[in-house]
Symmetry: C2
Subunit: 388 residues, 2 copies
């Protein structure tokens, strides 16, 4: 079994560019990834591509071959859709293919065009990640669903909005050096607490923005990387996936994410590491409470204690295990189909020492990327390690 | 590397059931597949699920976990979308996972709900499989696109509508014994020629219907099948995938399908067979001309000669290589996301001797399933063989 090397990564700026098509965005990301990798396009064996709502935002399905064309490659292409974990799911299959020798070089990534729908249109389109029959028709939106999860957490373990506010403040702080981030501006706890309420207890600054953007990653086998003298010091050494009941009301606990726990445990075992080895992570903070649930599901915090991690400085840039040094979904932005692949890109750069925030994690050898769909009805976790 | 056994298959009736949800359809197909296989649900490691237009027909994305729930399994689930080749793409990854030891048991399948959209709505929704920017906005629909391909074929190689009519007649004839088929009635060449024109040279009887339905297949490793004494005499021994430019106008030839040729060549090589070994095939006859192009791409007919295959009896039930003994998309129906998996189910039953039409192919040991997306911008091909 071959190690799977991250040979190159490319990201568009994340933000509001309603005039840009999905193919335009993915073309930019893939150009950057190929440049970064030094891998010629002709060597690509497959494109695995994540997209969530192209049918609604661009009247466009069947994006696999469309995006292969945008990337300038002639290779079979498949689109993966697992809501906000779409490109995480694509990365997982890409890792399996390369490690098993099915493919030597895979282009994996994703894109999403959202802001052209407007805020109401995007919110309605995002709702297709929930159960239309039993949740959406009853009025559930994702801010509402995550507010229920936050309230359930507070009820079971304690905590308050101010704890969550520190997560938003931390992630905005981390994004200051990230020139791809949608929000490169510092905020304070008071800003979060005074922001308009979205769905109690969550306010506007507890939510990630609606974003356009794309991410692309060139993965190669170890043999290919060695043979071509690639600068590819980081490998994806573990992959895991979990699933849960679709609708919140069918879950045993609203304030836990068993799908992410399952994915994390599988990825750790696959890589031969455990949570104590993790030096940094990018986790799926679509809402501030989601970062808390992710930390606990990944065993980076004990159940019921993740709520204080940012406030007490355990997950800040100067903390023991910095979380979302990219700015996270909260400040970097969340173009849904691009997010999972963008997390791989960020962790790889942080570990390789080529990220603006690498100085915060100079000795780091092990990082984690956690991507979640819906209210974590699906989740993928990947472990990345410095291997040379 | 383990052989990948087809342990059980399940299909809903294909037809017009606009009141049934996708989850209802997939639940039925999966119940049947589990019953057929004797595999307990708890042993399933993953669901790989194909769906094409759920966002438009049911306001429902993120169908992976939803369908895992419908199937009564607790396992990670991913949705694959490659237009009309969606569940073909899912089968391909399922085969890779099982043969490489990532999973022992995979539930793979797909479903589509279409008729609730009405004919105009379904046609518009199907168009998202073409290039929205360069084809759909210019007025292209799939009947129009395949009509262009048919006309280009006639121009280059000769042939006439009556040749195509024999394909429709053959596939309706084959469907007479298929109690899951949407159309269980014989037609004659005159019916095809006299049917209302859809897009010259194609008429109404050259097109597959709009359909609701689901298909599910339980795949296991050889070791699992042996250990559990499963009745699973057929294996998927070859998998291949190809891609092409998305828009017809970017192709070198309108009347050839290089993506299917690439997929076929890869699948044959993977299985260690060639076209002369193929005893029967299910090919993607969304329009009559599509069957011709498929036969030629799979090297079952020389380029330019596939047009006479049905008319001259080479592909009829009593011919040398029977094609679409299930009735094909044309008569069995084409619930898009279900089609690729349903082809695997049909070929497996034909080879196992448990299909109503198995008597036509009593000595058969090798079958092929060919699934295509859009105007064959994507294609998957699988080879199935009797292994015990």
């Amino acid at each position: 079994m071959s190690n799977v090397r991250v040979a190159g990564v490319g990201l568009t700026p994340f933000g509001s560019t309603p005039e840009r098509t999905g193919r335009d965005l993915f073309a930019e990301a893939s150009i950057k990834a190929f440049e970064d990798s030094g891998v010629p396009r002709d060597d690509v064996d497959a494109l695995l591509y994540g997209n969530f709502m192209g049918e609604l935002s661009e009247h466009q399905g069947h994006q696999g071959p469309l995006m292969a064309e945008a990337a300038g490659i002639q290779a079979p292409a498949t689109r993966y859709e697992s809501a906000c974990a779409s490109s995480g799911a694509a990365v997982r299959d890409a890792v399996m293919r390369v490690r098993n020798g099915e493919d030597d070089v895979v282009l994996v990534g994703g894109a999403e065009r959202m802001t052209n729908l407007g805020t109401a249109g995007a919110t309605e389109s995002l709702a297709i990640a929930a159960d239309d029959l039993w949740e959406v028709r009853a009025g559930t939106t994702f801010p509402g669903a995550y507010a229920l999860m936050a309230q359930a957490y507070f009820d079971e373990f304690g905590g308050e909005h101010e704890d969550l506010a520190h997560i938003a403040v931390k992630n905005h702080e981390n994004a200051l050096t990230n020139d791809k981030a949608q929000y490169q501006r510092a905020i304070e706890v008071a800003d979060v607490l005074e922001a308009p309420q979205v769905s109690s207890p969550l306010g506007l600054y507890d939510a990630c923005p609606i974003s356009d953007g794309a991410a692309a990653v060139v993965l190669t086998s170890e043999e290919y990387a060695d043979e071509h003298d690639l600068e590819a010091p980081v490998a994806i050494t573990g992959t895991g996936q979990g699933g849960d009941r679709m609708a919140l009301h069918d879950r045993e606990h609203l304030a836990r994410s068993p799908a992410a726990r399952e994915a994390g445990a599988e990825a750790y075992a696959d890589a031969g590491v455990d949570a104590t080895d993790v030096d940094l992570a990018e986790v799926h903070d679509c809402f501030t409470i989601a970062e808390v649930l992710a930390l606990e599901a990944l065993d980076l915090e004990p159940i019921g204690e993740g709520i204080t991690a940012a406030r007490d400085g355990r997950t800040t840039a100067d903390g023991e295990t910095p979380i979302n040094l990219s700015g996270g979904l909260k400040a970097k932005g969340h173009p849904v189909g691009a997010t999972g692949a963008s997390q791989i890109a960020e962790v790889a750069k942080l570990l390789a020492g080529t990220h603006p925030n690498s100085s915060a994690v100079e000795e780091a050898t092990t990082g984690v990327a956690h991507n979640a769909g819906g209210t974590v009805a699906s989740a993928t976790v990947h472990v990345l390690e410095v291997v040379e």
